[in-house]
């Protein structure tokens, strides 16, 4: 664990030194940012709020080939994952989400694809100086400078970045660029604390999660579920943009004689998510599906893994086409309890 300083002027050199690995950083203009691979010679800029699509698609690609085969043949070819990767500039909420989802992918049986990618990736986070309007990370166990899940945390101190290593991977990364860095002094630490506290205070939305995990099952038949889901369109926006959502579908897809079994993101809000071949659907309407989603994030996941499967990033609130607001739903849940 060490703390170093990087002068922002040296940022392009910093990037230049990280050769040999695939770097993902936020890119794009305007509002619609996403994590994209950094091209050779390119220098990513880190001034932004948060990306539309969380970096979960780097560890858990939206479409991933599990194995290929030829039709009529039984030889299965499993793709090899071996590229060392760095995700640069992810927010602490997204990093926390990675460690939350990892618990499920390690539960009882290891998911080889996710865990291999996780092993190959180094997570370099960027603390939040300015929270978003709908951020509520502090209500669900996170914070603007939370280090959970990260290997290295960067804090923007104006003209410098403070780099705090958290894991051996972080140490190793800092090692490769140490000529560019200076020791962090107490003044910088104080600056960091001030920035982080200020950011924490600016977070205006809060969610009271006390007893919610235990209480949610009691509200199974409560009329609030019909009210909050009435205007839901049943699209997949909230689930696809959620850093902790991890549901997927498995499909065999063929093209002429080549075929592959791949997995792709799926959404519990889609009608056919639990549709049985017989035509029976245990969650026939959006009311049941909304109820299931909230229960899964705030109750079932807590029972199994002791953590709320929501990091308060606010993407679902920002992008729901009909303004279904999870903070509002939880407020109603708390009221009903």
């Amino acid at each position: 664990m060490s703390a170093m300083l990087l002068n922002k002027e040296k940022w392009p050199d910093f990037i230049g030194k990280l050769t040999g690995k695939k770097i993902w950083a936020p890119s794009g203009d305007g509002e619609e940012l996403r994590f994209a691979p950094v091209a050779e010679g390119e220098t990513p800029q880190l001034a932004f709020n948060n990306t539309r699509v969380p970096p979960k698609n780097i560890l858990f690609p939206q479409t991933e080939t599990m194995y290929r085969f030829q039709l009529g043949d039984l030889e299965m070819e499993i793709p090899q994952l071996d590229k060392e990767t760095i995700i640069l500039g992810l927010r602490p909420c997204d990093a926390r989400a990675i460690s939350i989802v990892e618990k499920l992918f390690r539960w009882d049986v290891d998911d080889p694809y996710y865990l291999k990618r996780r092993e190959l990736v180094t997570l370099v986070g960027l603390a939040c100086n300015e929270p978003g309007l709908n951020c509520f990370c502090t209500s669900v166990g996170g914070g603007p400078a939370s280090t959970e899940g990260l290997d290295l945390l960067m804090v923007d101190l104006g003209d410098k970045y403070l780099l705090e290593t958290i894991t051996p991977k972080g140490d190793a990364l800092v090692d490769t660029v140490k000529e560019l860095l200076e020791e962090a002094d107490e003044a910088s630490q104080k600056l960091k604390e001030a920035a982080v506290n200020e950011a924490g205070e600016k977070i205006s939305r809060t969610v009271d999660t006390e007893n919610v995990a235990q209480g949610l099952p009691e509200l199974w038949e409560d009329p609030l579920w019909q009210k909050v889901s009435a205007s839901c369109l049943g699209c997949g926006t909230c689930t696809y943009l959620c850093p902790t959502c991890h549901c997927f579908d498995i499909q065999d897809e063929t093209e002429a004689f080549e075929a592959r079994r791949c997995r792709m993101w799926d959404s519990c809000m889609f009608e056919e998510y639990t549709l049985h071949t017989s035509g029976h659907n245990p969650r026939p309407t959006r009311r049941e599906r909304t109820r299931n989603r909230i229960n899964h994030k705030y109750s079932y996941y807590v029972d199994k893994f002791d953590v709320i499967a929501c990091v308060g990033c606010g993407r679902c609130i920002n992008l729901c086409p009909v303004n279904i607001d999870i903070v509002e739903i939880l407020r109603q849940v708390k009221e009903a309890l």
């Binding site: 599990m66 499993i78 099952p217 498995i250 065999d252 998510y273």
Partner: protein, 281 residues
């Protein structure tokens, strides 16, 4: 095929296959053996568990393993033809290949049940998940206090495993009660619905475990009648099913409440189930 990758199935060959029932939604039984000797030797499963079986290029389905491990180094699956994958499975004949991975799920707590009487109540294709426990008890007779089987279907053509029943009635501690919904020529067993037959037989709840599988409506009335006969929630077991994709608790879809059917189930006792409203959806 690596053992480390839980998504990669093993290849198996269909040794034998036959139809149990006819009609549009016919049921076909497959007896399969793994191609790889080491897999065949190292495979072990318990009654109640399921496996993902399928055809490469079409997909997979989670089907209960309807044989007991005591029967030999093979697997049996009884599949009803319903959709894309099961249709493709139905086209397999002896000698064809089937992809299998598993075993998944929990199993009937056979060790806990030692010394007890076992009562199975099945309806239609629901007998398939019950068959392994029946065969297991038959093979381990001294450990249990007897086995009673109640099995019904709409018509005699809809009954599965017909050839196996006569043998059961010849033994003192095993009995088999069949019923069909409507009168049929040539049928000299009971006629009537399964829940009613249960009431008529009046089994004593003492030292008995009940396992029931079948269409939801049958389960509903069977549960009602079991309560009338004095059975406690802890004595009643059933299996749940749900749409499944990964089989290992990762894809998120098969949950009934906080329980994943592929991992925490498919075997559930009624004492657990009654706390999960979604289980009865």
């Amino acid at each position: 095929m690596t053992a480390n990758n839980p998504y990669v199935p093993y290849t198996a060959t269909v040794e034998d296959t036959w139809y149990e029932t006819g009609g549009d939604r016919c049921i076909k039984t497959f007896k399969v053996v793994f191609d790889d000797q080491s897999v065949r030797q190292s495979w072990s499963h318990k009654p109640g568990q399921c496996a993902m079986i399928g055809v490469l290029g079409i997909g997979e389905s989670m089907i209960s393993i309807s044989c007991s491990p005591t029967e030999g180094n093979f697997l049996r699956f009884s599949v009803m033809k319903m959709g894309k994958v099961t249709q493709a499975l139905h086209q397999l004949e002896a000698g064809d290949k089937m992809m299998v991975r598993g075993p998944y799920g929990n199993s009937f707590p056979v060790d806990e049940w030692q010394g007890k009487k076992i009562l199975t109540i099945g309806g239609g294709v629901g007998q398939a998940p019950l068959r392994p426990i029946i065969e297991y008890v038959k093979a381990n007779r001294e450990k249990y206090a007897g086995l009673t089987m109640i099995y019904g279907a709409r018509t005699s053509g809809d009954l599965c495993f017909k050839s196996e029943f006569d043998e059961m009635n010849k033994c003192e501690d095993l009995s088999c009660h069949l019923t069909i919904d409507i009168e049929e020529e040539g049928w000299d067993h009971n006629v009537g619905f399964v829940p009613q037959m249960l009431l008529d037989l009046e089994p004593s709840p003492e030292n008995t475990i009940v396992i029931t599988c079948g269409p939801p409506i049958m389960i509903r009335f069977v549960l009602e009648n079991l309560k009338k006969l004095g059975f406690e929630d802890e004595q009643i077991y059933t299996t749940l099913e749900n749409r499944m994709k990964c089989g290992i608790g990762k894809c998120g879809r098969c949950n009934a409440g906080g329980m994943y059917v592929c991992k925490d189930g498919p075997v559930f006792s009624y004492a657990v189930l009654k706390e999960i409203p979604e289980a009865f959806a």
